[in-house]
């Protein structure tokens, strides 16, 4: 299809009807033809039953005609069902393809487009506005064809029965066809406004949600709510208007069709009384006429869906009808391999509002030279860097990358040669590995299609070391859980590492780790873990299910622990709600809490009940909630209440009782913690420790990690753990990573791509001293002479070894040269350094 080549925003809605769906549409037509026939047949049978079978009192004929009738009804129902299925299939196929095409188009649009477009707008367009158009496409052929055929068939049948009567009763339809389009036009206008309003509306919601911290920070709940209400009101009005016209169309149509029988009764009755029409024919006529309504109604509905679909589709496509600033891929040649030299002549960048962000910039760099851009914020450093990366389009002058004008290159040419670490790098939901390979996969091949050119595991590990991400990834790996199905071999080695680790560091470690000691109450394990002191082998004995487990509950009851635990639960709930009750559901507030932010409202209610009922029994659900809280209680982490020594002693005694009891009753329910077994319910790290860490100090954790690395290398396990760590999910927007980790990841993924030209826009601003020095050192040793570097510097102590330093002010380069040269000149750089 030629239509496929056209950008989606230029395609008409009708072009989707046959594109890729010809087979389905033809099948649908076939089924419809059968359906129409089976709809007319019963009418003829009806006539024959009355006129022949009943009048002639012939039972055989009655049975025969009734048989035909029944068969026709059955086939007709089956056809109807099949039509529905086929329509759903077609509409979903079209919807999926429209969504994919629109999304693919939207993400190629220039950055400037998104400055005025909220994410919510895109979400709304792709999720909501394409649904009606795709429904229309599925009906576009089947509905008009089937209903017009049916209409014609019935109309023909009516004329065959009695031409006069038919002409009179069909006269209502032309009248309806005059009035309905008039109303529909009004509905379309309202619908257009509705599409626009919904788009603004969705954009507004998305904006508020992404700025939620500002709303909380400034307490502007009311202001935001007021702004929102205005829009809700506008949308409500336009939807009401739209609804009025839509239902106007329906009601008008209904009125006209209801007039039909009236005409038949008055004229047909007269004719029958006069003996000019058989009674059977009148009955058949009435039925046939009634059958006209359905196809007619469907046609009108189809007409409405078409109009609405057209409106949604056109409005959406018009909105996104922008063209990418640069062609994505070259045609008829491979991406250029550019020489990494840079030649900038009289370069200016002027914004739409006429502000000169770059003003007559001149600059040359030989391949492999390193340039630092310095100056106050707003001086144009980042703008210049982004122009070199083709992310901004310069307005005047020339920017030659390897003697090619950057403005004329395709994105693919640039991406293959240039790597960018952005000021605020964006990390996408997915694993560490996926994020690390993000840049080099796209550079190596097309857009994400698998192929060669991928870095090897060794390359990846080297880059992890270079950027200092290695220990982070290792720690992710150590904090992962293993499964008995997949890791049987690894587990054996880890148990060996455990023994070695304790031999070597056992004593020193005692300060930082609470070992799983059978004869000691564990402050860094939950009450439940303290009681069972083992890993459940059956789902129903897992910690989270214990309060619903009959065996465990009977145990608590028998040992007199229930009341005690409920008391702890009440104390915990009271204190936690008291401290955290009015705070937003931010993770940072709930890390040290036994209840999650989502559970907090439920516990508020439980406490309310407790206050009101006083001595009375709590509802069972509330009671179990309190018990859950007590079972989760980990005094080493949840500091809002204390756990007395007597109680610890008691729980310790009960641990022994539980073990004795369950070993006898259900010996396979638990594997008790033992030095010789791997504990699947604990992380790899806790397994190596055979305990849980007590410290949050990063320095201590660093020391421990270094020690563990040694042992893992000895046992040849390091790569396995790193590999597990590479599967760590970074969370939406990389939220599970710290700011420093996100930045290191962004640097690592560009290093892995090893571009000829490297642009770093304040790329190390979130890193600690050590990591920053490491990256700096790496750039000076590994990347010098190899890649051309343009670095926007945020700290002046990092720029000494750059080949060139350009000091920028108000969009101009006011000074350029080597560090010592510029300092000796006592000009702008000298001033800047002094000021710091």
């Amino acid at each position: 299809m030629a239509a496929v080549e056209r950008p989606i925003v230029k395609r008409s809605l009708l072009s989707w009807v046959f594109d890729g769906n010809i087979g389905w549409q033809i099948t649908l037509l076939g089924v419809i033809a059968v359906a129409v026939f089976t709809r007319v047949l019963p009418l003829e049978m009806q006539k024959r039953i009355v006129n022949q079978a009943i009048t002639l009192r012939n039972i055989d004929l009655l049975l025969l005609y009734c048989g035909y009738y029944l068969a026709a009804v059955l086939v007709s129902s089956a056809c109807k069902y099949m039509i529905n299925i086929l329509e759903t299939l077609i509409s979903q196929r079209v919807l999926a393809r429209m969504r994919a095409a629109l999304y693919a188009h939207v993400i190629t649009l220039p950055l400037s487009f998104f400055r005025n477009t909220q994410p919510g707008t895109v979400v709304n367009a792709i999720v909501n506005e394409l649904v009606v158009p795709s429904n229309f496409v599925s009906m576009a052929m089947s509905t008009p064809v089937s209903n017009i055929l049916t209409l014609l068939a019935f109309a023909g049948f009516l004329f065959w029965l009695n031409p006069l009567l038919a002409a009179v009763s069909l006269s209502i339809y032309p009248a309806a066809m005059l009035l309905i389009p008039f109303l529909q036009k009004r509905a379309n206008i309202a619908n257009k406004t509705r599409v626009d309003q919904s788009r603004i509306f969705s954009g507004r919601i998305a904006e508020a949600i992404s700025g939620i911290h500002e709303i909380h920070g400034n307490g502007t709940y009311r202001i935001e709510a007021r702004k929102f209400n205005k829009m809700v009101e506008r949308l409500r009005k336009v939807r009401v208007t739209w609804g009025l016209y839509r239902f106007g169309v329906k009601s008008t149509n209904n009125l006209f069709t209801s007039l039909g029988p009236f005409l038949v009764f008055i004229l047909g009755g007269y004719l029958t009384i006069k003996g000019q029409l058989e009674l059977g024919s009148l009955v058949a006529f009435l039925s046939a006429q009634e059958k006209l309504y359905d196809p007619w109604k469907e046609l009108i509905e189809f007409y409405q869906v078409h109009q609405e679909g057209e409106v949604s589709y056109k409005r959406t496509m018009e909105f996104f009808d922008a063209t990418p600033e640069h062609r994505l891929e070259p045609t008829g040649r491979k991406p250029l391999e550019l020489e990494a030299s840079l030649d900038i002549k009289n370069l200016s960048f002027v914004t739409e509002s006429g502000i000169r962000l770059l003003d007559d910039v001149n600059l040359t760099l030989r391949p492999g030279e390193h340039l630092a851009l310095v100056g106050f914020s707003g001086s144009g450093k980042s703008t210049l860097a982004l122009c070199i990366g083709q992310l901004y389009d310069y307005s005047e002058g020339h920017l030659l990358l390897g003697n090619e004008e950057v403005a004329h290159l395709t994105r693919k040419d640039v991406v293959s040669n240039v790597g960018i670490v952005a000021q605020n790098p964006f990390i996408f939901e997915g694993s560490m590995a996926e994020n690390l390979l993000y840049a080099c996969e796209a550079a190596a091949q097309g857009n994400g299609a698998p192929g060669d050119g991928r870095p090897t595991l060794d390359d990846i590990i080297a880059v992890l070391h270079q950027t200092g991400l290695f220990t982070d990834v290792l720690r992710f790996g150590l904090n992962a859980f293993l499964s008995p199905e997949k890791h049987r071999e690894v587990v054996k080695t880890i148990t060996r590492v455990r023994r070695k680790f304790q031999e070597k560091f056992g004593e020193r470690l005692a300060d930082y780790v609470e070992f799983f000691n059978e004869n000691q109450y564990l402050s860094y394990s939950s009450v439940a873990e303290n009681l069972t002191f083992g890993a459940a082998n059956r789902e129903e004995f897992a910690n989270v299910h214990l309060s619903r487990n009959d065996y465990f509950m009977t145990f608590l009851d028998k040992e007199g622990l229930l009341r005690l635990l409920i008391n702890i639960g009440v104390r915990l709930a009271r204190q936690t709600v008291d401290i955290l009750g009015n705070l937003p559901p931010d993770n940072i507030f709930f890390e040290q809490s036994p209840m999650s932010a989502e559970e907090l409202p439920a516990y508020k209610l439980v406490l309310d009940q407790l206050r009101r009922r006083k001595d009375q029994e709590l509802a069972r659900d509330d009671y179990l909630r309190l018990l859950d809280l007590a079972l989760r209680f980990t005094p080493g982490i949840h500091k809002m209440v204390g756990l007395g020594e007597d109680l610890q002693k008691l729980l310790l005694e009960k641990r022994a009782r539980f073990r004795a009891g369950i070993s006898q009753d259900l010996p396979d329910a638990f594997t008790f913690y033992s030095q010789n077994d791997y504990i699947y319910s604990q992380t790899i790290l806790n397994n190596i420790f055979f305990g849980k860490t007590k410290t949050s100090s990063t320095e201590t954790q660093e020391t421990i990690t270094q020690n563990i690395i040694q042992l893992l290398i000895e046992k040849d396990l390091l790569e396995t753990i790193v590999d597990i760590g590479m599967h760590y999910n970074v969370g939406s927007k990389g939220d599970n990573l710290s700011g420093g980790q996100r930045q290191k990841l962004a640097i690592a993924r560009v290093f892995l791509k090893a571009p000829r030209v490297l642009i770093m826009d304040e790329a190390t601003s979130a890193l600690d001293n050590k990591s920053q020095a490491r990256i700096q050192n790496l750039l000076e040793t590994r990347w010098k002479r190899k890649s051309t570097l343009i670095a926007v510097a945020h700290r002046l102590d990092t720029i000494r070894k750059f080949d060139k330093i350009a000091v920028m002010k108000a969009g101009k380069i006011i000074e350029m040269g080597g560090y010592d040269e510029l300092i000796a000149r006592k000009g702008a750089l000298y001033e800047l350094v002094g000021r710091k």
């Binding site: 911290h213 609470e514 402050s523 705070l583 809002m640 209440v641 204390g642 949050s696």
Partner: protein, 174 residues
């Protein structure tokens, strides 16, 4: 880290102790109980052995410290030479400024003996104080007051001996 010992004391808990200690610091004094509770809850404890660092010169460690017990020494490395500045004992609160903004430590602080301290990170402080924005001016007033008092005391007690350092003074004029 010392939670085991403390929590075994019975009904008293770390949270209560933190609350009592924070109330005694100049920085947090005067905050209403509702917000103080949140800070007390967000604090964590660490136990350090003699010789271990609380923070190191040149680094931004993102946290403030309250020394519960023990002793720590402030040191400064000047061109490779370690200089001892002074010692801090139990009851000292260090790092209020760190909570307010990024600062690179000008000194190192190192435990001289077994030391227990309470830590509050800048991230937690910032998120929590945002919930009580009406308290921010109060905290700023306290910090400004402290800086002014410090220089005032310095001038009164040491200005005569400080020789050539006078022209560099004036931190309270910032």
């Amino acid at each position: 880290m010392s939670s085991l010992e403390e929590s075994s004391l019975g009904p008293s808990c770390e949270f209560q102790e933190n609350l009592n200690l924070l109330r005694q610091t100049h920085f947090f004094s005067g905050l209403p109980l509702e917000s103080l509770k949140v800070f007390a809850y967000l604090c964590v404890r660490e136990r350090l052995h003699a010789g271990e660092f609380l923070f190191r010169q040149g680094e931004d460690d993102h946290q403030a410290y309250y020394i519960v017990s023990g002793k720590a020494r402030l040191e400064r490395n000047e061109n490779g030479h370690e200089r001892e500045i002074r010692e801090f004992g139990a009851g000292t609160f260090i790092g209020g400024l760190t909570l307010l903004g990024e600062t690179r430590r000008l000194y190192s602080l190192r435990a001289v003996e077994e030391t227990v301290c309470i830590l509050l990170s800048r991230e937690k402080f910032t998120k929590a104080i945002q919930q009580f924005p009406e308290q921010i001016p109060r905290i700023i007033r306290i910090v400004v007051g402290s800086i002014n008092d410090w220089e005032d005391r310095f001038l009164a007690e040491l200005a005569a001996d400080c020789g050539g350092c006078l022209p560099r003074l004036g931190v309270s004029l910032l």
